[in-house]
């Protein structure tokens, strides 16, 4: 890859998302989400099904299906990904923003070898020759921790283990050296022992390259392992965000508290003792009026069912949206 001359990528500038909205027709799936991620840092967006976390990821990566509409800004340097069209957008793909999906088996072309799928990024995006691209693909496989990269490069997706497939996806995502990597639950389908390897690999590589990493997950344990900062999503909004230590040690929103405390309470509990459970289930489709969490919240008050609480500053870079907080400064 050393022979390929790269057009200079936008300098390390991280990602700033401002007031992002995603709509699928009438359905307002993401309702004004704002966050920023510094180069080399990891933001974990955590939430349950239907909370809007995957729509946020796809919107920033500009991979929403046809029929979905985006509003707001997603800035990498001077480039607004939401506004990008045509050639600008195509140039930005892979080089400014890359995407890693949950299901690597489905995301890899079943009839092409790992080498071909990695190499085409190098030849199309960086003008590498055939042999340069092939060698570059093998080098990338080695970079993502694969032991016999030449042999793995020749294999087809169905001949690889789940962990190796996800590493091939990572190699594809990193091939054009993006400034921002959006990882949409890439370890959810993997065995726990494999997951740990992928987590630390992605973290190490994005740090080394000063990439901004957005890691989408439903698993608070993964957040504890990988994040520098956390955004908790519920009902299409961010309900709390802050540095990872603050979120885990001083959570303010009742939903965050339940999420963060559940695994610790579980660790301390004896076999066959009941679990701490949040009643009800997360809203799907239509979000309730007011605070989206109020139907499941044990502290809910009158205003919770009427108005959406504003995002309140709770400390350095820490904010939460809950009516209880305005009553209790």
């Amino acid at each position: 890859m050393s022979t390929v001359s790269l057009p200079e990528a936008p300098t390390a500038s991280g990602l700033r998302v401002q007031d992002l909205h995603v709509r699928y027709g009438e359905r307002h799936a993401v309702q004004g989400v704002s966050f920023s991620v510094a180069p080399g840092q990891t933001l974990a967006i955590v939430g349950e099904s239907g909370c809007g976390k995957s729509s946020t990821a796809l919107a920033v990566a500009r991979l929403l299906p046809p029929g979905a509409s985006i509003e707001g800004r997603a800035l990498v340097g001077d480039l607004d990904l939401v506004d990008a069209r045509g050639r600008t957008l195509r140039e930005a793909r892979g080089r400014v923003v890359a995407y890693m999906p949950q299901d690597a088996m489905a995301a890899l072309n079943p009839v092409q070898s790992a080498r071909r799928q990695i190499a085409e990024v190098l030849s199309f995006r960086q003008g590498a020759s055939r042999s340069e691209a092939a060698a570059g693909a093998v080098a990338l496989l080695a970079e993502v921790g694969i032991n016999e990269p030449e042999s793995v490069a020749r294999r087809y997706p169905h001949e690889l283990s789940g962990g190796m497939r996800q590493r091939v996806m990572l190699a594809i995502a990193l091939a054009a050296r993006p400034r921002v990597l959006i990882a949409d639950e890439p370890t959810t389908a993997l065995d726990v022992t494999v997951q740990a390897g992928i987590l630390s690999l992605v973290r190490r590589l994005t740090r080394a390259d000063a990439m901004a990493l957005v890691w989408i997950t439903h698993d608070i344990g993964v957040v504890a392992e990988i994040a520098d900062a956390v955004a908790v999503m519920y009902g299409g909004r961010i309900v709390e965000q802050g540095p990872v230590e603050t979120i885990f040690e001083h959570p303010e929103h009742p939903y965050t508290r339940a999420l963060v405390h559940a695994p610790r309470q579980s660790r301390d509990a004896l076999p066959k003792a009941p679990f701490q459970a949040i009643p009800g289930s997360p809203p799907l489709g239509e979000f309730p009026v007011g605070c989206p969490f109020h139907p499941r919240c044990e502290h809910a008050l009158g205003p919770c069912a009427q108005t959406m609480p504003p995002m309140l500053e709770r400390g350095p870079e820490h904010s939460a949206a809950c009516h209880l907080l305005s009553a209790r400064p």
């Binding site: 990566a61 991979l63 299906p65 046809p66 195509r90 140039e91 930005a92 793909r93 892979g94 080089r95 890359a98 995407y99 999906p101 299901d103 489905a106 995301a107 890899l108 072309n109 079943p110 009839v111 092409q112 070898s113 799928q117 085409e120 990024v121 199309f124 995006r125 087809y156 169905h158 001949e159 996806m169 594809i172 995502a173 091939a175 054009a176």
Partner: protein, 306 residues
């Protein structure tokens, strides 16, 4: 791989044997006395007996089947009752014409259907044109389609020979009939596969790589989208090879289909049997060929052979 091929060929031989057995039994249920067909209505009982002895008709069904199978192994399919020629020779004379028309028809089906399917598949919404063309073609009976083409291009425009001509253009109308007849099926299959492939996560991956749209289509979408059409083409080719009676009849195409029709009306048992056996062999060979092509295209199918 060698083991896979051996198994497939073994299975193919079994299939052909099964077909022979079944048609042999069917032939014996068909009413009519072949000896009388050959010797004519005024033959004496002595002549009839002689004919029967010659054709082994006086032996048991099992013995006759034995004779027939032994013949097949040596490439001998018997002698036509009516035309007084070896069946194998009759079929070999007509096989090239059938293969020619089959290939041309298949190519047109794939090209017309594929082009229409791809054109419609890359559009976000289903086009009305394809729907109208499809419904139109599907609702016209195949033989009237053939007559329409014949009238339009043969009589009115005089572009192509109507019947029995010998030039290279005489294949155009029968092949076009087959092509137009098969097109709607291919167009639908390709269009559905296109839309599925375009929505597939691996296509999203290709888009996320920043590849030009044409590269996304060419490298990732088309190959996967044509996979179901290929399976269909394999089955279709086998059917076309065994002769398409209506097209051969309308256009006077000297293929196996015609031979079969004549044999049917004449109760010419050896010819009927022969065409069925050859068709069975061709079907077996064509499906094997398609499976080998699939293996070359889709690595996942190679797994099952190991």
């Amino acid at each position: 791989m060698a083991r896979y091929l051996a198994t497939r060929i073994g299975l193919g031989v079994l299939t052909v044997f099964g077909v022979v057995l079944l048609t042999f039994v069917l032939m014996f249920v068909v009413p009519g006395d072949p000896a009388r067909t050959i010797a004519g209505p005024r033959a004496t009982p002595q002549i009839l007996a002689l004919v029967r002895a010659n054709l082994h008709l006086n032996q048991s069904v099992l013995a006759q089947l034995g004779h027939y199978l032994a013949g097949i192994v040596h490439g001998d399919l018997g002698v036509s009752y009516v035309q007084d020629q070896p069946v194998a020779q009759l079929i070999i004379d007509r096989l090239p014409a059938t293969i020619e028309l089959g290939l041309a028809g298949l190519a047109l089906e794939l090209i017309l259907g594929g082009a229409f399917g791809v054109w419609d598949g890359i559009r976000p919404r289903r086009s009305r044109i394809l729907a109208v063309v499809n419904v139109g073609l599907l609702s016209v009976p195949a033989f009237s389609l053939a007559f329409v083409l014949l009238l339009l291009f043969g009589y009115k425009l005089s572009l192509f020979p109507i019947d029995g001509g010998t030039g290279g253009t005489r294949i155009v109308l029968p092949a076009l009939t087959l092509g137009l007849f098969g097109m709607p099926y291919y167009a639908n299959v390709v269009r559905d596969a296109m839309q599925e492939t375009l929505a597939a996560p691996y296509t999203r991956t290709a888009v996320a790589k920043g590849l030009p749209r044409r590269a996304v289509l060419r490298r990732h979408v088309l190959r996967n989208a044509f996979s179901p059409a290929l399976t269909m083409a394999g089955l279709d080719f086998a059917i076309l090879l065994s002769g398409v009676v209506f097209v051969e009849t309308v256009f006077g195409w000297p293929g196996i289909g015609q031979l079969q029709t004549q044999a049917f009306y004449n109760v010419d048992r050896p010819v009927l049997m022969g065409t069925v056996v050859v068709a069975a062999v061709l079907v077996v060979v064509a499906t094997l060929a398609i499976d080998l092509i699939r293996m070359a295209i889709d690595p996942r199918t190679r797994l099952e052979t190991q």
